[in-house]
Amino acid sequence: MNMIHVQGLEKSYGNLEALKGVSFDVERGEIVGFLGPNGAGKSTTMKILTGYLVPDSGSCRVAGIEVTPGDPSSRRSVGYLPESTPLYRGMRVDRYLDFVAGIHGQDRAERRASVGRVIEACRLGRHAGRRIGWLSKGFRQRVGLAQALLGNPDVLILDEPTSGLDPREVVRMRDLILELGKEKTVLLSTHILSEVEATCSRVIVIAGGQLVADATPFEIARSRAAELTVVLRVPSDQIQGFDAAAIGRDFAHVPGVARLVSAEDCGGGTARLVLDVNRAPGSVATSGEPVAEMVADALAKRGWKLSELTWQGDDFEAAFLEITDPERIALVGPLVREQPFLAEELEELTEPILSTRTPRSGDAPTGGNK
């Protein structure tokens, strides 16, 4: 079932067109990263989903309930953490949470249980008796998340949940979101791209009020992969008359390869080819890895051994910059896969990123992956 359904949202603030017809769906149990440059319309979309704003046109459903102004029923299924974490700072943490639980219509016993549950889940125990205004940013953020969880909603909408947190808190928040994602549908916006790779099974990118990508982090990173390095070895009977350049020229005709960048003879019948696949037809990895597969097929056909196949520029950050580039959007259109996502497929696709990704310079110092 679609837990979030967004159809043709349009919204203007005066002359400024914040959203120009955004549509997407989020399935139950997905953790979806919602990305885009500042002013792209992320917060506006989230505010519409939570019922805080009414769109000029278009509609949305949350947990199957149409979001309608004046009708709070869809809001019961949504937990929302706004961007600036606006909390009543004069209140004690436990009283604040008790108040929010009360607002959700819980009776005394339910309130005690649910407040205890979220204090436990967000590890707020030691600070339950303190005033919210006295807490550090990290703990305030946890209170913000705790209030979003109080109504036990099916859908969580988190607007930049890790902004302004120190690296240790970022990791804690990330773990918490992963934990929550086991039972809930999460739509989270962020500017920290490594976080998206670590937590999200899918990424929706908007820029200039329009959808520019809807794919897995893996696919988005791979979409930019500009160069494919192939190290191959020919059988010993073919070492005689071995010509790396000729092999390279041969590979330039493999479908998906735009041109040969370099061909190097590494000796012993081994050649190292660098192929430019960027912007070549089919290179955008929206349906698996056609180029790599084609190259592998070409090798097998000739009876050559593949020693190494590496993507260069397989970089989420660079890919993000590229897909949100207005010129590129005008040129090639949005990066959206044609077939729907399957749950097993998502698991498979995100797994390597979650478990084997090597830390990069952009990562938080403590940013180990779970």
Partner: protein, 253 residues
């Protein structure tokens, strides 16, 4: 609907709690009580049509002087109590959560209104009942007139609070909210003074429109008038309705 009533009570509780939590509420109460007592003992009410001597000068066992001053004191007190109610929610962004929780605009408007009204009732009681007890010790006090006056003042306060809360919902800055509603309430109060210099037809209309004229000639003198009740209640309903329209209308902003 019972859930709407329930959420309204939660908003009420939070608003009232926030008032007791902050020092400003205590300060406002103390200043109000001191000013009311000072005026009662030493100045009397030498303003407008209702000229009254102070307690020491007049030697009359009546609280009429205090009641005569209340409308002007409300001009300062009520905007101080209401200015933050909506402006602060907007400035700090907390309304974004308030309006994404399952609370109707009407419930939050009513919750805030009743919280301020209830608090003001406490302030009135704390400031005026000690005076009444003291005067009753000195002479023969008409308790009926005291409670009639208090009830009338409470009603008048309700009308002023609903107007002030509505104005607070139009601003993001508390100071702007305070100044605009103090200005409006002040103008309404001074309308009573200007009636003599107005053409008679206009004077009549202004006199009936001003909330204060529904207090001075009746409740302030210890007389309870049903028409005043209807007047004040309709003003409250109108103010709260506009307030709800404004806060719910923000969703279309």
């Amino acid at each position: 609907m019972s859930t709407e009533w329930g959420t309204m009570l939660w908003v009420f509780r939070r608003e009232l709690g926030a008032r007791f939590d902050s020092l400003s509420a205590l300060t406002v109460t103390i200043v109000f009580a001191l000013v009311a007592h000072g005026l009662y003992y030493f100045l009397g009410h030498p303003v407008g049509d209702l000229q009254l001597p102070s307690l020491w000068a007049g030697q009359v066992a009546s609280l009429q002087v205090v009641f005569a001053w209340l409308p002007l004191l409300f001009v300062g007190l009520i905007p101080a109590l209401t200015m933050g109610a909506w402006a602060e929610e907007r400035a700090s962004g907390t309304q974004e959560l308030l309006f994404t929780w399952p609370v109707s605009g009407r419930a939050s408007v009513l919750g805030k209104f009743f919280a301020v009204w209830f608090f003001l009732g406490l302030v009135l009681a704390v400031a005026i009942l000690p005076l009444a007890v003291m005067v009753a010790g000195l002479g023969d006090l008409d308790w009926g007139a005291v409670f009639g006056g208090l009830a009338g003042a409470f009603l008048l306060a309700g009308a002023c609070i609903s107007i002030s809360l509505f104005l607070s919902s139009l601003f993001t800055e508390q100071l702007s909210a305070f100044l605009s509603s103090a200005l409006l309430l002040g103008l309404l109060w001074s309308a009573g003074l200007l009636i003599h210099v107005m053409p008679p037809s206009l004077a009549d209309a202004v006199f009936y429109a001003s909330p204060y004229s529904h207090f001075f000639d009746s409740a302030a003198r210890g007389v309870f008038d049903l028409r005043d009740l209807i007047y004040h209640v309709s003003l409250m309903v109108a103010g709260l309705w506009c307030n709800t329209l404004v806060v719910e209308g923000r969703r279309w902003a």
